[in-house]
Structures are given as structure tokens and as C-alpha cells.
């Protein structure tokens, strides 16, 4: 995916080093190699590679990762602007 890079400095991804137990699962599940293990702790090596899919946060048993996952789809985001986050749905008639 090196030839596909999106906007920089936008991701909501956060890592709590205190909470990290160094299991390495985040490095394993991330489809964009955002995490690296640095000794006994995880490290966000490539924050701009993050697509906010949420896989890392969901799989981190220690709860050390925070990210706001979502659908990166324009029609969906327009819905959230008009109706609010709760009412917007990805599979409604206005979406695909």
C-alpha cells in the first residue's frame, strides 16, 4: 500500500503506553502496518497510514488503543451532517 497515501495528520488513533502490555496483537492485525513493537511496548510508527478501521482497538485486550472508527464514505458523512451521527446509517436507501 506504499503507493496509496491519504491526507496526513488527521487520524484519531491514540496509544496509551502505560496501559500497553506489549502483546503485539496491534502490529499483527493492522492492515496498514501502522504499529511496530519497540521492545516491550507498541509504537505508532506510521500514524498517517491509519485508515481508522478500528481493528487494533477492538483487538487490544489491554484497552490501550483508542480510535474513532467509521465509514469513510462521502454520502454517509453528508448524512451525519444533516441527521446527526446516531440517525445516519450506512445501508439506508440514501446510501449503498
Amino acid at each position: 500500500m506504499e503507493n496509496f497515501r491519504y491526507l496526513e495528520g488527521v487520524t484519531t488513533l491514540q496509544l496509551d503506553l502505560e496501559a500497553c502490555v506489549g502483546c503485539g496483537v496491534c502490529e499483527l492485525v493492522c492492515p496498514h502496518a501502522v504499529f511496530q513493537m519497540n521492545g516491550k511496548k507498541a509504537e505508532i510508527g506510521d500514524p498517517d497510514g491509519c485508515m481508522e478501521c478500528g481493528a487494533c482497538a477492538q483487538n487490544c485486550a489491554a484497552g490501550a488503543i483508542r480510535v474513532t472508527p467509521g465509514v469513510g464514505c462521502a454520502s454517509y458523512i453528508i448524512q451525519t451532517w444533516i441527521k446527526g451521527k446516531e440517525a445516519a446509517s450506512c445501508s439506508s436507501s440514501e446510501c449503498c
Binding site: 500500500m1 503507493n3 496509496f4 497515501r5 491519504y6 491526507l7 496526513e8 488527521v10 487520524t11 484519531t12 502490529e27 499483527l28 492485525v29 493492522c30 492492515p31 496498514h32 502496518a33 497510514g49 491509519c50 485508515m51 481508522e52 474513532t68 472508527p69 467509521g70 465509514v71 469513510g72 464514505c73 462521502a74 454520502s75 454517509y76 458523512i77 453528508i78 449503498c96
Partner: protein, 170 residues
């Protein structure tokens, strides 16, 4: 670790998904295009509605091809990171082709209008492709949309005003 790919084939099969959203808005676009194209010094001319309407429709179709077909296929080779920008680039190319097609039959205001239609539509549709890729983050998409939508809307409004205005100028 297994990393995702996004090959030209993987992008191409998504094009029908993008196009499948278009029939409903296109119906309204058709109505609006033929109605606006007929307005002129004779109040409304069916002849103009047809001939100018076809030109505007060509610009619209050019925007679709540039934004929903060319942009996904050529994605990694088009300059820029924001998809709206990539779509504007393919839109400029497609819009120029549309102008070449009708060259001789257009006054300059009409040429500006057609170009803005194609670029605005193309940019918007390319931006919609963000929902289909495995690397665009929702935060990034929202950021580019906040900047791009006012510009895309502005381009289309300018295009419509110029298109109708040209009927009185020409």
C-alpha cells in the same frame, strides 16, 4: 502481517457500484438541464432546450466518466491526495475534450459553464470513491469534504448562472 492491496482490477470492479447511485439524480439533472437550456430571449425555446440541453448533458456525462470511471482506474497516478482534487484534474481533461467537441458552436461564457459543470461533477464523484477504498480514513474524508463541497457547489452554481446567462448574451 497481511496487508491490504488495491490493484487496478480491484478498483475497476468497484466502478459499477459508483455508477449504480446515479440513475435517480440523473433523472432530475436531465429535467433541469433541458429546462435551463431552453430559457432565453424568447422566454423558452424548445429548439434551444434540445440543442443546448444536449451540450450540457454531454458535459454532465463527461463529469461522470472523469469522476466515477477515470479517477478510480487512474487513482495512484493522478496528482494530489484528496480525491476531490484528483477528480478535478480528470474533470479538467474531460471538460477540455467536451469543449473541443463543440468548438465553434460555443461562446466563451458557455465554454466556461460547460467546463465548470464537468469539473464540479467529476470532483464530487471522485470524492465519493473515498468510501470504496481500503486506505481512506473517515477523519480525512470529512476534512476534504469540508473544503471541497463548497467549491464543487460553487462551480456548479457558477456554471448554471453562466449557462442561462449566455442565452441572453449570445
Amino acid at each position: 502481517m497481511r496487508q491490504v492491496t488495491f490493484s487496478i482490477l480491484e478498483r475497476t470492479v468497484l466502478i459499477p457500484v459508483e455508477l449504480s447511485h446515479l440513475p435517480k439524480p440523473t433523472f432530475w439533472v436531465l429535467l433541469a438541464v433541458f429546462f435551463l437550456s431552453g430559457i432565453g430571449t424568447n422566454i423558452f425555446s424548445l429548439n434551444d432546450a434540445w440543442y443546448r440541453g444536449l451540450m450540457a448533458l454531454t458535459a454532465y456525462v463527461g463529469g461522470i466518466l472523469a469522476g466515477a470511471v477515470a479517477a478510480p482506474i487512474l487513482l495512484p497516478w493522478i496528482p494530489g491526495r484528496a480525491f476531490a482534487l484528483k477528480g478535478a484534474f480528470t474533470g479538467i481533461v474531460a471538460g477540455s475534450a467536451v469543449l473541443l467537441l463543440f468548438k465553434g458552436g460555443l461562446i466563451w461564457i458557455e465554454a466556461v459553464a460547460l467546463l465548470f459543470i464537468t469539473v464540479g461533477i467529476s470532483s464530487y464523484l471522485a470524492m465519493n470513491f473515498t468510501g470504496s477504498t481500503p486506505y481512506t480514513s473517515p477523519s480525512g474524508v470529512e476534512k476534504e469534504m469540508r473544503r471541497a463541497i463548497p467549491l464543487q457547489a460553487g462551480a456548479v452554481v457558477i456554471a448554471l448562472v453562466a449557462w442561462v446567462g449566455a442565452a441572453f448574451a449570445g
